[in-house]
């Protein structure tokens, strides 16, 4: 029986038969349908997935004319602090533009948290000014809400992760609500400063990482910034496929945030004023690439159908079917990217 080489969610190679690939495609799709209440992929879309997974060659690509654009998360810093090459972020941005041919890059502080950036905003804004004066492509400023940073002893609020197990529910809810207001103030302060120095937009990274209150803080900040700066670009990228209900009762635009999947998350981001939505679906390391990819495409097809703004799939390691490893294999990455464009209809990465 013919076997096809593919990958597991942890990145290791696995050989699967045609029947096994089809079983995994069906099972991954059904998992998304049952969790998210989203429609199944059509028979034609499932066949397209199978064809992409079993295509010969190490690298596959999208059809002519279906190329998409890319944004990043802490992109400009990666040449320096990840690769260990001794350059600063401004040169990093120029390398991304004129060596790597990226469509955009985001400048971000190494801590990548709005609360940490507040103390060094003037230095960060100066770097932004020098970067936009020395590049052509769009430059965003990226950081995470990281609501947990506002808890004691690092911040002013009681720690809801400690209060909840003690049964202090009201206190835990109040602490989260208080943290939201502190975070919104910080994010808006930084957004104003970056925009005044020439940033093309803000990248709100890993929204909802600390649950629904974390997501609410980002939504409220975006809403305020949109009102103040109608022409500011705003990308909101999620932390996971599902918004955790650490609070449970928080709403935005009349919708409860806890429990939202990507096709629902994108609607509140649109309401807040985002112009790009960064969708996330978690990779299951114990399942195969066909299983993960079918699951992602089912979630994201529903998301792109619901969206009126462009959807950029987050394709870092461990999300949107990309294997959970620091250096995902290009055979896996290129197949996943092709399927996300041609089946899930994403507008970028």
């Amino acid at each position: 029986m013919k076997k096809y080489m593919t990958r597991m969610g942890d990145g290791y190679r696995v050989e699967l038969s045609e029947e096994e690939i089809w079983e995994d495609i069906k099972a991954g799709m059904e998992d998304a349908v049952s969790r998210g209440g989203v429609p199944e992929l059509s028979g034609e879309e499932q066949q397209k997935l199978f064809d992409i997974i079993t295509m010969p060659g190490t690298v596959v690509g999208v059809e002519f004319g279906k190329e998409v654009v890319m944004t990043s998360d802490s992109g400009a810093g990666k040449v320096g602090h990840l690769a260990g090459i001794q350059i600063d972020r401004i040169i990093g941005a120029q390398i991304h533009e004129r060596v790597c041919a990226n469509d955009s890059v985001d400048l971000g502080h190494i801590d990548y948290t709005y609360k940490a950036v507040k103390a060094v905003m003037h230095d960060e804004a100066a770097d932004m000014q020098h970067t936009v004066n020395n590049t052509v492509m769009p430059i965003l400023y990226g950081a995470m809400t990281n609501l947990g940073q506002y808890t004691k002893p690092d911040g002013p609020c009681d720690n809801w992760a400690e209060l909840l197990p003690q049964g202090k529910i009201k206190e835990a809810l109040a602490a989260q609500e208080e943290a939201v207001e502190h975070a919104v103030k910080d994010i808006v302060y930084i957004g104003d400063g970056m925009y005044e120095c020439g940033a093309d937009g803000m990248n709100f990274d890993t929204c909802g990482a600390s649950g629904d209150a974390d997501f609410l803080a980002a939504l409220k900040a975006v809403s305020i910034l949109r009102e103040k700066h109608p022409d500011m670009g705003v990308e909101m990228g999620m932390a996971g496929e599902f918004v955790l209900g650490m609070h449970g009762g928080l709403t935005f635009d009349g919708k409860r945030l806890a429990g939202m999947y990507p096709h629902e998350q994108v609607k509140v981001c649109e309401a807040a004023g985002a112009t790009i939505f960064g969708a996330v679906v978690n990779t299951n390391t114990n399942e195969s690439l066909p299983w993960n990819l079918a699951r992602v495409c089912t979630f994201l097809k529903a998301c792109t159908d619901a969206a009126t703004i462009p959807v950029h799939a987050n394709v870092g390691m461990g999300v949107c079917a990309i294997p959970m490893t620091d250096f995902p294999a290009i055979d896996a990455v290129s197949r996943i990217d092709k399927a996300l464009v041609e089946v899930a209809k994403v507008d970028g990465f």
Binding site: F64, G65, E67, V68, V69, M70, T71, E97, R98, C100, A101, N102, D103, S104, Q129, V132, N133, N134, T135, V136, M137, P138, I139, L140, Y195, E196, C197, G198, A199, D200, G201, D231, M232, G233, V234, E235, A274, T275, I276, A307, T308, I309, P310, D347, G348
Partner: protein
């Protein structure tokens, strides 16, 4: 779309500013540049066109507009303000 090698930077600008999906963003840029959507991802076409319009290339030769100079030209072609250009002009006393 390979950024300034093709037209990816401009398509992304349209997504960021106007919230247009990929096909609509490409059509917007193609119309402004007077080329087909397929041309936007073709480096043979785009390198020559970008050099001719002075809107930034991968390897700028001496005398070619670069960086904010290229964006000042790009702003006029795309038909919407680019924030960094607006701020640059304010600081330089050009407006």
């Amino acid at each position: 779309m390979c950024g300034v090698r093709n037209a990816g930077d401009m398509v992304l600008r349209v997504q960021l500013l106007k919230g247009l999906k990929i096909d609509a963003a490409k059509e917007y840029v193609a119309e402004k540049l007077g080329v087909s959507v397929l041309d936007l991802s073709d480096c043979s076409v785009m390198t020559e066109l970008r050099a001719k319009l002075g809107i930034g290339v991968m390897q700028p030769l001496d005398g070619m507009p670069t960086n904010v100079e290229a964006k000042i030209r790009m702003e006029k072609i795309l038909g919407f303000p680019i924030n960094s250009v607006t701020r640059f002009k304010e600081r330089a006393g050009l407006e």
